[in-house]
Chain length 319, copies 4
């Protein structure tokens, strides 16, 4: 089997490292380069394989047929352009080409929802971690037109610290995070808001999201608790999600409540749906859990790459 | 100074133990007995003082002028009745006499809001941990009539594991809780809902709460994230809370976001308020943090006892 | 390929569950039954496969060609006997047939050291978790006769809480273990001592171990810090271990210090060796890390089963 | 009561912050300045009091009668000299004046052991965190001449991450430390070794320490497990420690095993002693726990300051 030569830009952050591991173990890919400016020359081990990070300037972009960019927002677009010019297909994990952030957005890599647009693309904007959990949770309602028009969709979400990046910061030190919990970016100040709102509209919703993220004392995982006013009472709400996602290998609709332990180190969205009692307007509560570094970043990126390369979507991904 | 003889029922759970520690160190109280059925005869250390738990049946209730009951819901009412009959004033930490749970509710011990009713009472229903955080957060809006009539108030809250009780349970073992996060009682199934809704109405609101609690991998603390549709835009929302709680020793209105580390081992509610951008209807986000065992249970109980005994409310409480 | 029918006794504890997962994914095995008395009828998920625990009394022992017993110490021997009588080969994870605990010990399944005895056996006593880390660390010195005769070998080790069992216990609740660390069984009172001392002698050492275990606030993993007086200064001590374990797929001798993160969810012993400065007698410090549930229990059990069945030792094991 | 004017140098690290809190609440002290080069101008809250860190160059050293230096090793000596010149008494928390590190060591502030030398001094070298736990554990044996001459004393110790400093470092991030455990500075490479060995000799021992420190996934606390070959069997070893430390308010000799939860946020050493069974030479195991920031740093510093100022040693210290 021909192995696709894959390059990784921004390889030393948490998402980049996860990509290095996935690509190293992927039976249809081989690693052409793993570039990381700050950690150039340093080695990292991924299972049996050891990788040495190279300087971005030393990279031969045209050695790669497929490039993943896990560069920071703002810095990614230029490198993505260069990789496209050199002929590579690109999955960009930054927000630079995502809807809501960019006039010229690329196809949005929310795989289960956007599969047709992804399959034929050469550049994919891989979704943010929070938007992945939230939009997979909302899509069945939006597709059926069941969200109450004009209503605010309330999203509370909590993320493990790997979502806040690899670089050392005072507030992410163990002694600061352990035994703590806090909100951040309150009042709709998080940069993922525009991305989520843009997609809600693209999926047919006339709704605003009110999003409050929180920082959890765990390494990995996101849990999103989504409250959605609906147009009518839905007796057995899980059935709608089960039907919508029937046959999807990476979506798990469950009766029991999803938790981080159920999803870490797996490329899945696991969710449950609950009708709210004791409120005047029919309202659903959707609870969705993902591994922020897999389905929320590197895993979904490889899923998109598989799709775009004509491979089985599941290849090389832990479910 | 005459020391009040204090008895504690249900002394061996987490709230009961916190009470034992607070009463032992309280300059105006002395411990008459600490009863605990399951742990009778066992000792526990609280700072310099060691306490031996006695069997409830061996307790002389009339040896106590003040009784705290931290017995389980359902089991507390009978013991509270006996303590009242023997002449003691009672603070009941169970839900047995709280509004929303009982036809004949006792005065509700949300100290800062209900001070006048508490001062003259002989039996106080001490608030639940979640309701304390939520209602202190909402009271200024309700008092001013600023909550949009009929609107749902969305409450997402997360609690440390001491909120789930002292008895060993599989799902509370370290190996199950560490690195995890999950919701429970979704769809408004938590038993604190009725208590919160009853108080919202008592404080003048025509609103339902939609409440989703979560279990955090921390020992102590609750963070409540409360989304409130309001009748008008409020330019500087924190000012309303600062004015409402001016002079309160146990309420902290802050600009920075409250976190569990700011409140554990302290008898305070710490909160911040934020206007939501990018939503059509004016909406506020209130974030409130407490120590579930202090302001959420034993600390507020002692605060109420101080008030009811004519002492300075702050005596014996860590702020 | 013929799949070996495998039965698991004591399947619902932490080691038993790990065995269920390994056997379910093992390409040469299929699960005949997973018996668990206390959890009979309950289901557990292992990756894609769901297993229902059956009552031991409902098990057809002769349906299994290979039986793993993860029953408690004392309770295992009788079931092991029954499984042997029914014709199955048995790997016993309890201490019932280990040296130091039993007049009639079975071959000891410390795979890398005892491979010849294991290959032809029908019943293997799988080593304890602590002994695995300690003995793999000591074996090269003992084999070369380099441990100072008569000297005490000091072993300090720390284990995650899954080493203390699955059953709920007060002292293993999250709120008790988090942010704590403590020793237990001090003064050589741990039941693994006899097993370690017996093997030290079997490997030629005239030495006693002084063993102090500790409980860590982590779910999985053991780190053993072993101080060994040696007969002579050893300039580059790691070379001895590298040579002794050359070609072993599950032993990693490293220059950097091993840590729990390097070994959890992997069936390896990872170790480093250091000559002690500033002491009068030549002394080495060996530091060895394992996953207590894999190389310390279920992983080594499958490794032994592979060996005993004539399969590649590595099949079905995460390295 | 005259309040002593106290200055703190290096106030923004973990030990410095702990000092700020202790001095702020100390009834006999008032804070003259809290200097911190890197965080100049930043504020920190200690209970009810808020402190603004000033630049060291803006400090009037002679405004302080007592100076605590929590500056880094190497940087402290010069500032200590300047404070002494300006007339202040000084407690230096760095290693710059400790025995084993410096030709001209100052009196060593291991309070319970060195009380006479401390009381009359003007400069005290406050002990390191590990040496405090280890030497308080060993002192009774050394004083009675019971340590086997020439024998190695094996010390394994584990510390929470605040022992590794306040500055952000990759290896101290939450996502790196949680669920991990590792040794560091193996083979007697830790800088506290010389300090411990110097004191062992000063206390009459002809012994070398073999010291292996470890990093724990907790914020605070040190547990030291000390193995000591002794000259004779000691039937009830705890009695020796109880007698030696009789009346000491900050030393707790217990029958149960000490743990970090017993000592954090308290200025105590808590220890137990155990005779080792099944070894040929009589050997004791001493297990000692401290809060590394209190008895291991700032608490002992205030204890020494109290002594040196003629105050009750216990004033302002949480026991």
């Amino acid at each position: 089997m021909h192995k696709i030569a894959v390059g990784i830009l921004g390889a030393s952050g948490y998402a980049g490292r996860e990509l290095c591991g996935l690509v190293s173990r992927h039976p249809g890919m081989e690693l052409a380069f793993a570039a990381a400016n700050g950690q150039r020359g340093q080695r990292a081990r991924f299972g049996a394989r050891e990788i040495t990070f190279v300087a971005p300037d030393d990279v031969q972009l045209d050695a790669a047929e497929m490039v993943f960019s896990a560069l920071p927002h703002g810095a990614s677009a230029e490198w993505v352009g260069a990789a496209r010019t050199s002929g590579a297909k690109v999955i960009d994990l930054s927000s630079d080409f995502r809807p809501g952030n960019n006039a010229a957005a690329a196809p949005y890599g929310l795989t289960e929802i956007m599969r047709d647009a992804i399959a034929g693309a050469e550049l994919i904007a891989n979704p943010g971690c929070y938007p992945t959990a939230v939009l997979i949770g909302l899509a069945p309602l939006l597709a059926r037109g069941l969200v109450r028009p004009g209503a605010t969709i309330n999203v509370n979400a909590a993320s493990g610290v790997t979502g806040a990046g690899f670089a050392p910061k005072q507030e992410l030190m163990f002694a600061e995070v352990a035994e703590d919990f806090r909100a951040y970016a309150p009042g709709n100040a998080h940069r993922h808001l525009a991305e989520m709102n843009a997609l809600v509209r693209e999926l047919g919703g006339d709704n605003d999201i009110l999003f409050t993220p929180h920082l959890l004392p765990v390494a990995r995982g996101i849990l999103a608790t989504i409250t959605v006013p609906v147009t009518e009472s839905i007796a057995e709400p899980g059935a709608l999600w089960r039907q919508f996602y029937a046959g999807e290998p990476f979506i798990e609709v469950t009766d029991e409540l999803p938790s981080l332990r159920d999803v870490v180190h797996r490329n899945v969205v696991r969710l449950s749906v609950h009708a709210a009692a004791n409120v005047r307007q029919p309202t659903l509560v959707v609870i969705a859990a993902i591994d922020n570094l897999l389905k929320g970043a590197a895993g979904q990126a490889v899923q998109n790459a598989n799709l775009l390369l004509g491979l089985d979507e599941r290849v090389g991904l832990p479910s």
